[in-house]
Symmetry: C2
Subunit: 168 residues, 2 copies
Amino acid sequence: MYFTTIHQMTKMLDNLGRCLEKGAAHAKARSFDPAVLLNARLAPDQFHLTRQVQAACDAAKFAAARLAGRDPPRHEDREQTVDELRARVADTAAYLRTFTADDFAGAGERVVPLGWLPGKGLLGRDYLTELAAPNFYFHVATAYSILRHNGVDLGKADFIGSLALRDV
Amino acid sequence: MYFTTIHQMTKMLDNLGRCLEKGAAHAKARSFDPAVLLNARLAPDQFHLTRQVQAACDAAKFAAARLAGRDPPRHEDREQTVDELRARVADTAAYLRTFTADDFAGAGERVVPLGWLPGKGLLGRDYLTELAAPNFYFHVATAYSILRHNGVDLGKADFIGSLALRDV
C-alpha cells in the first residue's frame, strides 16, 4: 500500500509536469508571459500555481520520506519559470523513484509527527490515507484547475495518465 | 487497503457535504440564488458544480461496488438544489458504510472491466490506485475549487476533515 501509493504519486508528478508543459505551450501560442499562469490563482487568498505545484511536490516528498523514516531533501521554493518548476517536479519524481517496497516495512505502525501540530502525530497508515494522499491530490488537482481555468487545453486523461490496462 | 480507501472516501463525502452546506449559507448571506453556485464551473467545457459532486459520488460508489463485486445502486442525476445534492452525497456515504473489510477479500486480483473502454479492464489493485482514487479526489477537489473560486469561505481543513491524531 505504501510503495503502491508512492509509485502512483510518481506517475501523477510526471502527469503534472506534462500539464505545466502544455501551459507553457499555450502561453507561447497566445503570446503571453507564462509567468501569468505561474501567478494565477482561483481565489485571492489561495496559493498561486507555482505554490500549488511546490506543495504537491512537498506532499509527495514528505509522504515517502516520513513513511520510510528518511530525512527528506530540502527545496528552497525559488522556482521562477515553468522550466524551473518542471525541474522541481522531475526532481521530486526522481527522489520518489529511489524508494523500494522494502523501505516501507512497518511504516503503517510507526507514528509520524506533524510539524505544524507540536506533540501530535498520526500512525503511518492514517498519515498516508487521511493526510498525505488527499493533500497531494488536492494540490495536483488545484494546479490542474488553475491551468484549465486559464484556457490551457487539458482533459481528465492529462490528470489520470497511463493505465495498466488488461484484456477482459 | 481497499476497505481503508473506501472508508476514507466516506469521510471525504461527509466533508464535501459540509462544503456544500457552507456554499448554501454563503449564498443566503449574500442574497443570491444557490443555483448560481450549482451551475458554476471553472472553464466553459468543464462540468459544473452539481456534475462534479455527482461524479465524485459515482467514483466512490463504483469503486466500492466494483472492488467488492456488487451491483451499485442507480442514481438518476436529477439533483436541482443544494439540499438534493447534499442528500445524494449523504446517500452515497451511507452506501459506502454498508461495506466491511471482508467484502474486499481478493479484490486486488480480480479484473474490473471499464465500461467506457470495451474489452479492457484493470486489476482491482490498479483500478483503485490508478483510476478510482485519483478520479474521486479530482472531482472532490474541483467541487471545492468551484466553491472557493466563488467566494465561499473554505480552507484546507474543510477538504481534509478530521484526523486520527495521537500524542507523540
